[in-house]
Amino acid sequence: MSGIVMPRPDDEVLARRGEIVAALKRLVPGEGVIDAAVEMRAYESDALTAYRQLPLVVVLPETVEQVSAVLRYCHENNVKVVPRGAGTSLSGGALPVGDGVLLSMMKFNQVLDIDPANRAAVVQPGVTNLGITRAVEHLGFYYAPDPSSQIACSIGGNIAENSGGVHCLKYGLTTNNVLGLEMVLVTGEVIRLGGKHLDAEGYDILALMTGSEGLLGVVTEVTVRILQKPETARAALIGFPTSEDGGQCVADIIGAGIIPGGMEMMDELAINAAEDFVNAGYPRDAGALLIVELDGPEAEVDYLLGEIETIALRNKASSLRVSTSEEERNTFWAGRKAAFPAVGRISPDYLCMDGTIPRKALPEVLTRMRALGETHGLRCANVFHAGDGNLHPLILYDANQPGQLEAAEAFGADILKLCVEFDGVLTGEHGVGIEKRDLMPEMFTEDDLKQQQRVKCAFDPKQLLNPGKVFPVLHRCAELGRMHVHKGQLPFPDIPRF
């Protein structure tokens, strides 16, 4: 990653900085424009902290009209714009560019409408993920997707990354839980998509926006689906001698027609790091640990826990505990939720990866990953969303040892290539951003990537929004639009035609 090159700042734009700042101050009066370097420091990176860059200027609009005016100005004056929510991206999605505006949406922090009868809430994009649940829980509702950064991350950022969480096998990703958006195009035009109704009236631009990493537009309002809280939730903590046994147990649970609310796996290194940190009562001698959470009506949860116990024992479970209280359930989760900081305690630094693989490939991928670790001379702890195949290898390294950061980054790239080799993908929920940008050709052909970039051209032909992210090679829209046609005969004349 340290080798990632961002587009060269445009000297012509840098020379106009004073004029641009003055114009933006007219559009967003008061405290809404930050141009002093010391104050812009807070915005120089997101949660991928290895990369830092001061923006040209930071703008914090408060109204849709201001967002529209800022974007229109930037579009007319060829100034780049990087949208930002809470700045918790792990892939550098909100990394500023030196010749562009950093557009923070965090003043859009209001819950606008709670509509339990239609099971919907309308919020501004700067409301945190957990803030939505906090706003509706007094009515017995919650917002289902729960990325582990949910206390800090914004719903606008969740849309940019199509965030998941531990419950998405049963309850879906952000894209399955968003009903409508208001957004501003780079031209300043405001459009509304969807609403409290379900059918889209044309192309599903809502789906396109979700996971588009801030490259297509700026979201100014979000309508989400809210769900009634399950009547009860209980968790089982199951130890296995090997990850093969644990993986087979996961397959058998799903094969029995059971879709748990959450299903997480940890390997030996992660188990012991977590146990050292929070004393959750994890079995230290297990080769793999599975946490299975069932939620729903009590009668169903009790019945399914019995089924899961049978399946686990058939798969050589070495230990099995079922939570008997809410406190115990939270303790089971405490170790998993603290896995990243726990690993942080046993290693000076770590890199968090985010590939997805078909579940069945887990044992083989883990074996190959261990071999890669030996090649690179580094250890790796694994936490795994076993229900959906999303793998978070944590590569342990010491940045103070010369060459270790580079080795860790090379190891990480090899892991993601391994995921693709097993029919998986480069990123499950952290986004491509800058981190995985240059690995995109591992998964996609040039034609695949060109068609993606053409979609960008429909929204942002000057490519001013969040430049340098997601796509390894920038093509100009005019070049992408060119078509080489060869006139000729009707194709495959040998085929019968009717």
């Binding site: 509509d115 339990p116 009868a117 919907a120 990354e161 998405c168 096998l169 399955n176 195009l185 035009e189 405001v190 459009i191 509304r192 409290k196 109704h197 379900l198 059918d199 889209a200 009236e201 044309g202 631009i205 396109l208 996971g211 009634q228 058998d252 027609g257 059971i258 879709i259 009506p297 009668a299 997805t356 078909p358 579940r359 069945k360 959906d388 029919d423 998986g424 993908v425 480069l426 499950g428 491509v432 995109m440 996609f444 990537l449 060109k450 068609q451 993606q452 053409r454 051209c457 429909a458 997601v470 078509m483 006139k487 005969q489 009707l490 194709p491 495959f492 085929i495 035609r497 009717f498």
Partner: protein
Amino acid sequence: MSDTLSPRSADEVREAVQWAAAEEQPLEVLGTGSKRALGRPVQAAHALDLSALSGIMLYEPAELVISALAGTPLAEIEAALDAHSQELAFDPIDYGALLGQAPGAGTVGGMIGANLAGSKRLKFGAARDHILGMEAVSGRGEIFKSGGRVVKNVTGYDLPRTLTGSWGTLAVATRITLKVQPRAETEATFVISGLNAREATQAMTAAMGSSAEVSAAAHLPPEIAAVLSAHGHALSGAATLLRLEGFASSVDYRFAALKALLQGGGTVSRLEAEASRALWRDVRDCRAFAGTDELVWRISVAPTAGADFIARVQAAFACRAYCDWSGGLVWLAVSGPDPQADAVRAAVAGVGGGHAMLVRAPAPLRTAVAVFQPQPEALAALSARIKAQFDPHGVLNPGRMGS
């Protein structure tokens, strides 16, 4: 319609589209043609028939994933899933009965092109919520893929979901990968008889807002219930239906919970698994309007607005209607020849907005009237730019979604 091209591989689809783009010859993209009576008719001298591009390429029940070529009959996919006690959770509607055709005729490509869903959309979403990956040929004649075979994936724009519901106007899908789900062990329907539209909305809203995990909720006024009753369903008078699926003990438990929650209004009865499944199939497929010459609309509004919408249109003109999706989906049958498009769309706007699609009407009417909900100018312009990026010569299904 004169000439039909029947490619046998993705490469042959590419050749066909390259030819069409070079010659600027529009293509009508077809599977079995079961949805030709839906949407705006296409005027094209050539058809691209994908029915030879057929077959399940991958099905791994334990991984909850299936992948098939676009021309694969949906019935083949459903049979394969059924053999492993799995299903497509979004419960795709079968338009056969409503359109006066044989049931079970569509392909997986058509299902994705039309973004099909059924009564269970309320809980499980539509086809767009279950597509994982797609291989396709753009209107430029280039093969591309997007997505994959895993649920969690944010590697590039989500083109499979975006292309779902695009009616073949952006690209020709050649292979589709879908998430599947275990079929419920059993089911039952909680039937409340005798509620009026307002009471039914209250009952459905209360049920959906409870933790009873209702997977479908519909209200049939007396005249609609009578039609379904004539088809053999045990209904008498207005029927409010709440579907419960899952393990037997869970279904019984939730049935009791609903009974406690909704006591006092109407008479409660229970339909067991087989009767429940059969009734929901007919509710989903709009069986009540099959075999008539009425014009049929499908209207999507906020769930609590459904009853108000029906009241408004029934005050304006004679029609039959019922709602699914807890009020969020209204099926509306209008005696022709005037489809009452302006009144329908005014009523949609009047209850807070949504989407009205003219589903069943003779082809000339589907050419003259906007079949899909007209879009505001900026959104329509953006959609046109997206179309131009996929299909610059406009050769794929021209006019299918609008003039």
